[in-house]
Every structure is written in C-alpha cells, then in structure tokens.
C-alpha cells in the first residue's frame, strides 16, 4: 500500500499534468495506422472486439506506432526512409511533439518505449556509413534526443521491448540509401541478426542467421511472456527457393527455424509481413501469399488461413491474436481458426501494435 505522502504526491502530480490512460480513449488493445476511403491517413485504436476505440489523423502514411505503456500517447513513425515521427495525444489527436531524425539519419518505421515509459527507442540508418543506430529520446524532456547506440547490424527494422525490460532489435541486414530509394545495395554480403540490448545500449546477446541463408532479412519480431522472440523474415534470394521464413529465438545466440515446408512457403514471394506471440503459440502473416500461419509453441505449423492482404498481427489480452488486412477487416486468430470480427472502411497498414 502506498504511503500517505506518496499518495498525496501522486494526486498532486496527476492534477498538475492531467494525463489520460488508454482506458480513457475507449479501451483499445492495439494500435494500427490506416488509410480511410478518402485516402486520408490516420492512427486507430482497436478494441478487443475489433471496433475502433479512437481514430486520429496522421499527416502522412504511417508504418508502425510505438505505444506508451500506460499513457494514451503514441509515436507514429514515418515509413522508411522518413525522418519524422509524430507524438500523438490519442484522446485529442493533438500532435504533442515532432521528432526529427538527426542530420544524416532516417527512421525505419518502428520504435519502442521502455517499460516505465520514460524513454523511446527508434531504429535509424546512419546514411553515410550504412550503420544501424538506435536513437534514445526522453519523454519527460519533450522527447529530446538524449542518447544513441549501435544496433549491432545494418538496417535495423523492428525494435521491441522484451518482458524483462530489455530490448530486441531486428537488424534486417540490407543497406539502402535514400538517394537510391529502396534499392538494396549489399545483397551479396548482407548479414541479418537479432540483437538484444539493455536500455543503456549494452549488448546482451546476438543471433545471426546461418551463412547459407544470409539473404534471409530479419524484419519483424514479437515476444512471448517467457521471452521467446518469434522472428519474421523477408527472403532476398529466389522467391521460389526460400528457407523457413519464421524462426524462434530462445537465447544463446541461436535462431531455430519454424516448420515451414515447400507447400507452406509456396507463393509467399519469400515475404512475411508481421509476427505475433500469443497463448503459447505464434502467428505469421504473408500479405503477398494472402494467408496467415499458426505455429505451436515449438514452432510446428498447425494451421494456415487464407485472407487477402492480411498483415497486421498482435496478441490480444484474452490470449488470442488480432489480425488486420488492407481491406479493412479485423480478424481473431486462435485455436478456433481465423474469424472475422469486424469490417471497416479502412485499409489497415502493415502492423498492429499491442498495448501492454
């Protein structure tokens, strides 16, 4: 029980800076960027039943958002190679702050908060050297940039807070330069990896993809409560000869491929869009193969579900997985299959971000 003094202090600070929690904006369980029928971009909160809890405009197409752990505040990060990120008040839609990547940097579209919500971490490209960097921004200082550290790889894409408070970074391995758009400059030598850091940037572990599949670009990650990280890949070799496009990381520098045979990999264009960990199982989406995969806790493929342009996935509080597609559908993926919950006149963007 808090002391009387702490209680009063809490009351005082609450009244001094009235902040709204996620419950105050309609109890969303996930965030997604989207485009509406008029072509306007927005950030939406989704409830557990697939309804829209709130919707706030975005100035341009988003990619993923970083959700504050308890305040109704989200950072929408521009798509690669954008250099802006907008801090959005999810109740009013006000843009509280604009983060600008430092000179010579751009964002990759993903970010994550520390467990206490004081720090925001963003994945970035040091354009001149091609080195991956993690930017550190302090919320209490109006999101001032206070630090940065190496991502321990090239092309860091998704960054994720792990259950223990550490950070996981998916280094995709692909060097790009804004001058040549999204052209891939180092396919012959790329070296993707998963890197684990503490919040000071100290590297704790590092798992490289094997030599013989070094063109398997690690892009998206999700964590189970036990700290297992499910990894989703985008194969840069022949799209009809991909290795497994999903793997599990359980520590000790190793990535264990999930069970995907030639049939399950056929027609995916070597491309996994999102992954999710939920209820002692895992899911992966292939928007180009128009299907979602369900894996058991050991990475065995248990089911495949057809769904056009499906991409966003995230764990829901009830132990199932929410899924979204570019056609406005919100689905629930569970042991009962893929069920459509709601349809909206929206095109949901690539990623669902769980509010946990």
């Amino acid at each position: 029980m808090p002391s009387r003094r702490a209680f009063l202090a809490g009351l005082l600070s609450a009244s001094a800076t009235p902040t709204l929690g996620w419950a105050d904006v309609g109890n969303p369980v996930a965030l997604s960027a989207a485009m509406d029928a008029d072509g306007r971009y927005l950030l939406a909160g989704l409830t557990a039943t697939g309804d829209i809890a709130f919707s706030q405009p975005l100035p341009a197409r988003g990619h993923a958002a970083a959700a504050h752990p308890h305040i109704a505040e989200a950072v929408a990060i521009a798509r690669r190679p954008g250099a802006f990120a907008k801090v959005i008040h999810c109740a009013t839609g006000a843009i509280l702050q604009t983060l600008r990547a430092p000179e010579g940097r751009h964002f990759y579209g993903h970010g994550a908060f520390s467990a206490d919500g004081t720090l925001l971490f963003t994945t970035e490209n040091d354009i001149a050297s091609g080195a991956g960097r993690i930017g550190v921004w302090e919320r209490s200082l109006n999101y001032r940039r206070v630090d940065e550290f190496t991502s321990a790889g090239v092309g860091p894409h998704e960054i994720l807070r792990l259950p223990g408070g550490t950070l996981a970074v998916a280094n995709g391995g692909i060097r790009t330069h804004p001058a040549s758009g999204r052209d891939k400059l180092n396919l012959d030598t790329m070296r993707p990896n998963l890197a684990i850091f503490d919040t000071t940037g100290q590297i704790l572990d590092h798992a490289e993809v094997p030599d013989d599949t070094h063109q398997n670009s690690l892009r998206h990650i999700a964590a189970a409560p036990d700290g297992t990280v499910v990894c989703g890949f985008q194969w840069q070799g022949d799209p009809y000869a991909p290795p497994a496009l999903v793997a599990l990381y359980t520590g000790n520098g190793a990535l264990k491929p999930a069970g995907m045979d030639a049939h399950s990999l056929h027609g995916l264009d070597g491309y996994i869009g999102s992954v999710s960990a939920f209820g002692r199982s895992y899911a992966a989406s292939s928007p180009r193969g128009h299907r979602a995969f369900h894996f058991d806790q050991w990475g065995g493929l248990t089911a495949t579900y057809p769904a056009p342009d499906i991409c966003g996935l995230c764990a829901a509080p009830d132990g199932t997985c929410l899924a979204t597609d570019g056609l406005g559908q919100v689905h629930r993926l569970s042991n009962d299959g893929l069920q459509r919950l709601r349809g909206h006149s929206l095109a949901f963007d690539n990623h669902l971000v769980a509010l946990t």
């Binding site: 485009m35 029928a37 990619h63 798509r79 690669r80 579209g109 894409h157 999204r182 892009r219 022949d238 009809y240 000869a241 030639a262 049939h263 056929h266 027609g267 264009d269 491309y271 869009g273 928007p287 180009r288 128009h290 057809p306 056009p308 342009d309 499906i310 991409c311 597609d325 570019g326 056609l327 406005g328 299959g337 069920q339 459509r340 349809g343 006149s345 929206l346 095109a347 949901f348 963007d349 690539n350």
Partner: protein
C-alpha cells in the same frame, strides 16, 4: 513491380453471379482436368512408352494450365498445388527427386495409395515431362514411374474435382450461419480477384520474367516446360483462362481489358518460339519482352476497368514491402 488486386472498401457493383463463375468457369475447368488426367492414366496403362503417351500428356497438361489459376479452395486445402506441377523449380528439386527414385529403383512406384508420399517434385506434370522427354536408361522403371505419376495425377484431380461442388456451396452461402470459410459475399469476390491478379502476376513475373532474366543474362533454361516445348503454350492457355475468369466475374464495361487481352494473345500467337529459347537471341528476345509488356498492360487494364469502379486499388500491404 507487383500489381496485386485487392478490394479495400465495401462497394461491389457489376459483380457477376458467383453461380455463373462456378458453373461456367471453375467447375468445368476442374471436371475437364479430372477427365483428361483419367484419360492420361488409362493411356499409360495401355502403353507407357513416351511416344505413345505424349498426346495424352499434352491434353492433360493443357487442362491443368487452364484451371491452375484457381488455387483457392480444394487445391490449397488439400495441399496439392505443388504436387500437380512443381514450377518454378530453381533448385531442380524435380531432377533430384526423380534421380533418387530411379537410382534406387524404388518400388513405391508400384503402390498407388502411397506414391503421394514421395517428394512433391516427383509427382506432377513437371516430373512426367522429364520422364517422357529425357533419356531413360532403365526403360522398365521409367514405365512404372510414368504409370505412377499418371495415376497420381488422376487421383489428385479427381479428389479436387470431387471437393469443388461442396466448396462452391460455401461460396454461394457466404455469410450464412455456420459458414466460417466465407463470412460475406465480399470475401468470395476477393478470393476471385486474388486469383485473377495472382494469375496475371505469375504470368508476367514467372512464366515470362524467369526465362527473360536480364538482357545481359537471359535464362532460357528457366522457361517453364521447355523440354516438351510447352512454354509459350502455357502463356497462351493462361491468358485465355484468365480472360475467361475476368469476363465471368465482372459484368461491367471492360473494353480496355478485353483489348489488352486480345493484344497480348495476338503477340503470343505471333511468336514462333514454343520453348521461349529465343530469349537468348537479341533479335528474338525483343518479341518476348513486348509480350511481357502486353501482359503488364492487361494487369493495368484490369485495375482500371474492374478495379476502379469497384474501389479496388493495388494491395495496400502486399505492395508496400517493408
């Protein structure tokens, strides 16, 4: 560039009756495949020599290429896509799987109910082509292998054709209680659009793009079914099949689409290069490149004609690529 068709918003005028698509396109396509493979298998039993069997092989392969764009439903649910034809095959899985069987003279070819346990790459039309068009040192084993592949194709085609009427009922009863496969009619139409767009993309990127490679590095050995000189035939058949799908699934004005299909078909008809081996000859290559551009024009026309009035845009996520 990928041009996948999807439907972002809920507006569907001018869609043809799903019953029509089933009755005029999908069900006859799979029935024809079942019939042609049964004929192939009967012919293989009567005379398994390559020379005798090639006409039935061509007929059955034609039937497959004319319906293989309808992958959703029983074909995917029974995981038979690759078993029917294993292509593209950049690792030569077919050659390796057949070599393993032949080297061991594996008697599994004599067991019709377990032959589907062998590598998918050894089961389909791509495997049968090798056996019928490459030298077979052990003619007895080649005969039994031919019969096994032909019988397996018959069984698979029969199984898919038998499952289609029930799956068609699911398409027709979209949105009914208990129909978890299609929870609304719009999902059926999305499945059809996905089949059309994926089929056109496969034609452009794989059937044409793979042998074309780049100007500096053409890849004639990557042409589909080049051993039996069927590469161009597959392009013509799939153009016809995709045009038939477009016309049965959409009732509005699609004059540009019709013209684009006609232009692509005319360019394919004019090519005198059944195995697409001309891609390595700069003078011939040009014509294949023009054909590929004509297929791209079909993709764009389909987006404009069918897509725009229905609110269809290019895939929001599948095209984003990040």
């Amino acid at each position: 560039m990928r041009l996948t068709l999807i439907l972002p918003f809920l507006a569907l005028p001018a869609m043809a009756d799903v019953q029509t698509v089933l009755d005029d396109h999908i069900l006859p396509g799979y029935a024809a495949l079942a019939e042609a493979t049964a004929t192939l298998s009967d012919a293989a039993q009567a005379d398994c020599s390559a020379q005798a069997l090639r006409p039935a092989y061509h007929n059955a392969y034609d039937a497959w290429i004319s319906v293989s764009h309808i992958q959703f439903g029983p074909l995917e649910d029974q995981a038979l896509t690759l078993q029917m034809a294993f292509w593209p095959d950049p690792k030569d899985s077919t050659g390796k799987a057949l070599a393993r069987l032949s080297a061991a003279a594996d008697p599994i070819v004599d067991q019709r109910d377990t032959f589907d346990d062998v590598s998918a790459a050894a089961q389909g039309f791509t495997a049968l082509e090798r056996v019928l068009y490459e030298d077979q040192p052990d003619s007895d084993y080649a005969c039994r292998l031919t019969q096994a592949i032909a019988a397996g194709l018959t069984d698979k085609a029969a199984s898919v054709a038998a499952a289609w009427p029930d799956f068609g009922d699911l398409m027709l009863s979209a949105g009914d209680d208990g129909n978890s496969r299609f929870q609304s009619e719009i999902e059926v139409q999305r499945a059809l659009f996905t089949a059309l767009s994926t089929g056109l993309e496969f034609l452009h990127d794989q059937r044409l793009g793979r042998p074309l490679g780049t100007f500096d590095r053409p890849r004639p050995r990557r042409a589909e079914a080049r051993r039996s000189d069927r590469s161009l035939r597959h392009i013509r058949l799939s153009l016809s099949a995709l045009e038939a799908l477009a016309k049965t699934m959409f009732e509005g004005d699609m004059s540009d689409t019709g013209a684009a299909f006609a232009d692509a078909q005319a360019r394919a008809d004019a090519l005198d290069d059944p195995g697409l081996q001309g891609v390595a000859d700069p003078a011939q290559r040009f014509k294949v490149e023009v054909l590929q551009q004509a297929v791209r024009a079909v993709q764009i026309a389909v987006i404009n004609d069918i897509g725009a009035p229905l609110g269809i845009t290019a895939g929001f996520n599948s095209l984003d690529g990040d």
